[in-house]
Symmetry: C2
């Protein structure tokens, strides 16, 4: 293939890995051996074992390069995996990055991607320990993380009990609104650019709730937890199914929206339920017995992340939502299915 | 999208995962929690830590569905990763499978793929512990494995010393010949169908040298090791570079070829050097001090895998090969670069 000197193809597989190795800090701490051999070697001080998560992101399915910068994508590819570890209460340790790269991709693009990936990794004391780089027609990113299981055992999605309170961290629906703005399917009702970019950032640069996840696990009061990737309702559905077919009652009034999010609902530009189905919030959704109320409030205050009680577990095998004075039963999964949409 | 009921798209993301979960054995032993939560939880009895490897395979780059069956691919996707763990002397433990699937892919195809993957996993006491399934235009398979580091420390590619002997397991070049046969670029000189299918199997169904790798690590006599994926010469080059810029002298006469392989060379259908550059042998290439000769012979006999001394480490910073009475210096890397070819 004839190209200039600025594409991934000019670099070649080994050129890219050599370049990457020069950018990486020396393997340190529990990581004995990082990128460059047949496998990475990690020697953790293991109390409770290893938690491992893996996620793939595909161009045109999970992101659109028209409005996603290389740095946004480098951040998000890691953030969504960190969010999975956070949902178990894990402390992240090692990352493994698989990249299927089109030959025409620019070196500069990849540099920026890796830069943002490493920046977020550093913020969480996570080391890029290995990976694989191959050629492909479309860009596919595969991230695997190994983290430490919390001493108090990981928080599963299967532990919710009758009458438990249901909580979410942060605010809901911002990522959905950010995506609609990026895709120019919605316009801001106020024209306030700070709010527009807040919502877009919430979609492009999700902040994984890693420390919060660790604190919630350490508290010992959380009965079940997952992160919201498919949408609040869909993920609550997963939690209820995993917990043995329980039901839930949500109070619409209590679902926490950002100020920017509120304005879209108040202006009638989006329905409330679309925010609950939108997905990619990367907030934590968890349950705890009612008596844990004060401890949850304390964790919220310490972690400086809002933790809002949005409803309660019941035995009805459905999710109902109290909205405008009436209970509505939510049918179906209501979330995002990569194959069906 | 309008389809029948036999494609991945009809299943949907959750349908596939539900189906997979039903096929998996219950998480057992050190695996506390497998597929179905935000992360898998593995609680190994850790002596020396964890080894992790990850590999991506892309349709049209790493395999051609025209001559690769679903079962071949399911086997090979895992085998090439097991080969990486073998090269460190690791005992495999947990697998994480990422699949980017075109919507038109048949359920039956995926069933067969998973079946072969799980069969090979079972043979190595490896549990499929997690993964991700997403939609894509082209088929991309991403496999990550966690294994146990050997008690005697992992075998790196960086430990070769001056005057060490260089060994390979099994025979070399079969996979290259098998690929040429599958692509109909070569015809068997004898027309012997058993030999043709032997060579094709060597390409489609590589046998990872897992137990051999563990035995070599446990012996304590191996100084450096890797698996041959890019070709003997290319991978020896990686080992020499990692070991501080040493050189090697190979004896062409000693490179072990299979009977089928010999016939192609003797018939003048392929050059010897193309077998050394061909790649995807998934044999182990390692170095050991000369005095370890008898121990290596014993391991070969115990493991029933031929281990052949093919040359020696020197200080010349090049690879020379003794062929037809003269030494030839090999220039360049001579292996396969996914971006350049």
């Amino acid at each position: 293939m004839e190209t200039g000197h600025d594409t991934v193809a000019d670099w070649g597989e080994f050129g890219f890995i050599d370049n990457l190795r020069r950018r990486l800090p020396q393997a340190s701490g529990a990581l004995q051996l990082g990128v460059g051999d047949d496998a990475a070697w990690w020697r953790p001080a293991l109390g409770n074992g290893v938690l491992t998560t893996t996620d793939m992101l595909v161009a045109g399915v999970h992101f659109d390069l028209a409005y996603t910068s290389a740095a946004d994508l480098g951040h998000k590819a890691l953030a969504v995996n960190l969010s999975d570890l956070a949902a178990m209460g894990s402390k992240p340790a090692c990352a493994y990055l698989g990249l299927a790269l089109p030959a025409h991709l620019k070196k500069a693009w990849l540099d920026e991607f890796i830069g943002a990936f490493l920046l977020l990794a550093k913020a969480h004391d996570l080391q890029l320990a290995g990976g694989d780089t191959v050629a492909a027609k479309e860009l596919v990113i595969s991230v695997t993380l190994n983290g430490l299981a919390p001493e108090s055992e990981p928080l599963l999605r299967s532990g919710a009990a009758l009458d438990d309170d249901i909580y979410v961290s942060g605010t809901i629906g911002d990522s959905f609104l950010g995506l609609q703005l990026l895709q120019k399917r919605l316009k801001s009702p106020t024209g306030n650019l700070t709010e527009v970019s807040f919502l877009q950032e919430r979609h492009l640069r999700p902040v994984p709730r890693v420390e919060l996840g660790e604190q919630l696990a350490a508290s010992g009061v959380v009965s079940a937890m997952l992160d919201i990737s498919d949408g609040v309702i869909a993920d609550l559905g997963h939690l209820l199914t995993a917990s043995g077919g329980l039901g839930a009652e949500l109070d619409c009034q209590k679902i926490p929206l950002s100020e920017a999010g509120c304005q879209f609902v108040e202006a009638g530009l989006v329905s409330f339920s679309s925010l609950l189905a939108g997905g990619e919030d990367y907030e934590l959704l968890f349950t705890a017995p009612q008596k844990a109320h004060d401890e949850i409030a304390e964790i919220a205050s310490e972690s400086r992340v809002a933790l809002t009680k949005i409803g309660q577990i019941n035995h009805q095998d459905t999710i109902t939502i109290f909205e405008n004075g009436i209970f509505k039963e939510l049918k179906g999964r209501g979330g995002y299915d990569h194959f069906q949409n």
